[in-house]
Assembly symmetry: D2
Homo-oligomer: 387 residues x 4
């Protein structure tokens, strides 16, 4: 089980994005805070100077370490003896790559929110740079951090459901059910603006989560897609729903559904994987429960914290079975593994095996490739298209 | 609420199929028995004479009313003063149309299991004949019989979830997980033999149930499909999985998943419909529960038997809320509505409104058209194809 | 699996009670109808002659076999060559014993609804008579008929949860939440009239179901109780809630909760049994699901119809796993087992082992003894009292 | 919604207990860490000097602020300019009162784990002292911190289920299923040693949680009990199961079940409250879900984070509906409310209304009074006894 880290070993962290009105920023702060591996000491939190300063003050960041843009922040922090050791990027998608490059170039490790980039080409460019090191580029695909998502991965790897044949994955949220962008709701306005959101808004925002969950758990890549991107809310500028048929590397088949308009859903992320002898079911809204449904035996319900779970699941949890954990804990696992990766690099040692579960730019490129293929298939009347 | 019918008003029923080893035959007998509207008095239960006689004896059918084939049965029963008033057909798919025609031609009402036919052309031919009357052709799409499926239909019709935008429907069963047809298991052998099962085994067997459920509840037709039919079990002769993207008449989008190989599932029929203000969720394995998930209000759980349900739901049930009902009750609703349709025709009166919910050959043709479109889309690399 | 019986072997059945307005009567008719072992041919359905005749007509019972009272019915039917072979009693509680005695004295087998009697003394008198035979006295404790209740019994008998230590059982219904008896609702009026309902209305009506379920599944008797009977709805004449602490024969402890006023519940019958190595959970509103919760292994979900269930569970079902069954099926199991017991007695052979699961007057006396002990404990300030 | 506090405003916190092997200590550290209101700077973590030092080192506590006992810690910290502003006590039960007194006497605010004391007399003595102030005495009844527990409290207060009539509450855990204390498992050894655990081990450990949950949500006090305390595991020195019938202040009735031996349970805390028009159901293992079950309307499912919840529920959460929260978040709510209470006292202002939800020594005395009454009722053959 995990525990709160020794505060004397905290890494100095900077933020790009995450102002006071940013919901994802608040979540990143919690995720970085929970295990105590990081201390927020610098940042560019908002474009507007007043809002930038207000956030810094609320977060306890010294005024001299609040920057007007990420370029100046990267240079200035790299120059300080007590400069940030890592930066977390949670600005809009189009900022992800340029900001990442700026910090990588200064040797500062990057913890970037998904999607990696706003286009496949940009993502590939970043990956190429990241591979050169020495700084790391890590990606907060937070749902990979759930203990039972890790258990599912382990179960499949050791054959608990046989050969994977079918995957049904969905991240069908509901926050775009009403055209609130037309009433000035910001969070929806930038998401439904193709200029800011990229070629497929719904895939960039939620689809890549589903895609990453599928990859993480099955260990398979999506090889071909047959996709439809739709706009189901009248007057919307971007897509808001994607239905994608999948062919996986090993010949398995699947479906991925990503949506903003699954009215009545609260979050809507779930995964089902069917193999030759059984299946797994996990739903993010009840994350401490994993169904292992044998074809030829009684179904089993696995719960986080139980003695028979894999080491990977056990290393991802903080409290006993029957005491619920949630998203912040899962997200904190990603941050803590990022901390271990960063620490290990600085200490010139191999990182702990568990920390290798933290997604990276490689995963991010896979996600962008998936989006790209879906956009092409949609344009080609739904024909099968390589991913 | 329904009640057991007066036995003096039972209709005389014949069977085509439904021998002692037939699981669907046993279910039809229960469905016809429960409300007491029918009495089984004649039949051709099996091709093998000994098995035919054995079934008749077990069912209490007089030896002189056991026939070697449906042709002779139709003629002979039509000639008797106490001949069957209706026939239930549950023989293999290829028998559905010829047997239906034989009885229709003798003026005997037909209650036929799904799928209506083994090809679209054959189905259309039957529909043409059925339209001429006077005998009726009814189809036992039994899942339409559940009280809460009817409630869902009513709720959508009266706008409880707004305009329908998305439908996710699946009938993902698991009985073909292992290649038991290669070990001589009959029920799987004929289902996976394309000669007997038609162009898509998985769609004919379970896909049409999902398709009908979608149509029945939403009141929408599928207008276009982008489909993939797959064979996921090595060595299998037929398909065993279908993934279908849907476009509905009103512009809504959807996905239909039909499978024999969803390992670990027990039956796997469920429906989700998303509208502009909320959604509905129903799962056949907990049939007395319907989730009405408002986008802007607390979610509601509706249960069969509750005072606030529609008349249609109330007319479809027999016991109080909190006392569970199941498949036999749903199936019996179809049989009882068939009885009312048949009775009304004989009495030259309009049938009760509720009995119009019983599916007919029209619905069967829709199902066959759907299969046909999926097969064509699959052959066309997944391109969108009119249904 | 069960199947519809051969109609030529139907037993001739009479009813005492079960008029057109009787909800339990309608349920008995369905339970007797489903498997086809009985034919309703005589009865006294209501005290009012017109309502008595109306019911007979609706049920297809010949006018000459409708009787003004059970005494005349017993004598007249016993005198007919085609007289009833069994009688089902579903009149108010106070009628159970006198009617039972009248038919037993004529050698007619009795299928009686619960509770057995309106007092312990009366119940014991009946048991004494029933033991002399030759006619049988069977009790429709219908919840004993569920396949997974039988599976639970088998699992405990073979040690699947170790030694039983704790039982938490409840039948907490809600139909008395509002004082509808004060507004003339009949079903509630007689239930809350101590003269008709006996010493504890709530225990006679629902408490004995919980008590029987506990006994049936654990194989243990309640040896001592510490009870409180309460009236929670102002102005009510009877009790409407009972909280009972239990000590079982083997030293286990437990709690039984019976209620009319568990507002918002739909039916509210559930059982949990905890042993030295695991526990079982069953809830009547999802009857096809049984949780087997090992202490030292993953929890299991057992579903009706699965291959690994006991023979007893398999003999209690009609359709496949994943196709839901409900109360009528469970109740029909009791009726079918009664049919086998009656048939076996008439054929001078031992009844099939499964039919011995059908409860009898012995069980009924246990229930009355439990009520009696609870009433005494309640009067003694909650002190422990022998049952 | 809550957010991570400004680190510059952290309160200096000391620990009594919470060494490296202490599971509850780890949980307290997380709860104090999450919202960032506290910094751990001093403590006595273990009796053994080496383990005491090891914990301090792991927690980043300076060696000079590690103390051999709470007495010396209280005096020394009170003397420092940078001394602790609050102390969290999570040592064994018998330490709670003496340690609390030591810090209160030095004017240091106390955050104490439950149960408040090891006897009612001791608890009353502490309360008397705490009332004199000026330092505060707060109690970490952590389950009171769940957002939907607060919603339940609000719903009842505003009449959403009418007048409370029935409460069924249980904390039935399973960690004592096996007699592991006989194999040297420490956590069970002290819990089952009456000298350390007090008059009722099971009530002190889990029963008071159920009792507090009931009080917190209903706003009612338990006025009388009829209890049985049992030892269900052979050879155990303490009780391990308690069944308690309840009478509440307002005339409502209830049952409380506390257990160590509910084999197969993972944690087992749940609450059901039934009123005159509906009921509420909450289960700690799915804490983001609250059922509001109207008697005369469809049931509702409320989820944490939804727009229509009370302010109290909204102020207790950090992330959106559909993103799960868990125990650490609930526990952190208690810590953050404690921080507000402490801060307000130091700033001579009224604390925020929400912080008044944090339990205090008054609640602790109620819990001890409940235990005391149960022990007396048990000794009096289950008779009703004033609480």
């Amino acid at each position: 089980m995990k525990t709160v880290a020794n505060p004397s070993q905290r890494l100095r962290l900077g933020f790009v994005g995450g102002g006071l009105e940013s919901s994802i920023g608040a979540t990143h702060r919690y995720a970085a805070q929970l295990d105590g591996h990081f201390e927020l000491v610098a940042g560019v939190f908002a474009r507007d100077p007043a809002r930038n300063r207000a956030a810094a003050q609320a977060y306890g960041v010294a005024p001299e370490r609040v920057y007007p843009d990420f370029q100046r922040m990267a240079v200035a922090e790299a120059a300080r003896a007590d400069g940030v050791q890592a930066v977390a990027i949670m600005a809009p998608n189009a900022v992800h790559v340029p900001a990442s490059l700026a910090f990588l170039d200064q040797g500062i490790d990057v913890i970037c929110d998904k999607p990696l980039a706003s286009s496949l080409a940009e993502a590939q460019q970043l990956l190429e740079r990241a591979r050169k090191g020495p700084a790391l580029h890590l990606l907060t695909h937070n749902y990979s951090g759930y203990p039972l998502v890790r258990e599912a991965r382990e179960l499949i790897a050791r054959g608990a459901i046989g050969e994977v044949r079918l995957v049904q994955v969905e991240h069908a949220s509901a926050f775009g059910t009403h055209p609130l962008e037309q009433q000035g709701v910001k969070a929806l306005a930038w998401r439904t603006d193709p200029a800011q959101a990229g070629a497929s808004s719904v895939l960039a925002d939620v689809g890549v989560h589903a895609h990453q969950l599928l990859r993480f758990v099955t260990g398979q890549e999506v090889s071909e897609v047959s996709a439809e991107l739709s706009t189901l809310v009248p007057g919307r500028q971007s897509d808001d729903n994607a239905h994608v048929k999948l062919r996986l590397q090993n010949g398995a088949r699947g479906m991925l559904w990503a949506s903003f308009v699954a009215a009545g859903h609260r979050h809507g992320l779930q995964l089902r994987v069917f193999g030759s002898t059984g299946s797994l079911y996990w739903h993010q809204e009840e994350p401490d429960r994993l169904e292992l449904r044998h074809q030829d035996q009684p179904h089993q319900i696995l719960r986080r914290g139980e003695a028979w779970l894999s080491e990977s699941a056990r290393l991802s949890t903080r409290i006993k079975a029957g005491q619920p954990e949630g998203l912040l804990e899962a997200f904190a696992n990603i941050y803590s593994e990022a901390a271990e990766r960063i620490m290990a690099r600085r200490e010139h040692r191999a990182p702990g095996a568990q920390s290798l579960l933290c997604p990276t730019a490689e995963d991010g490129v896979r996600g962008m490739r998936f989006i790209d293929a879906c956009v092409r298939s949609d344009a080609a009347d739904g024909r099968w298209t390589q991913a």
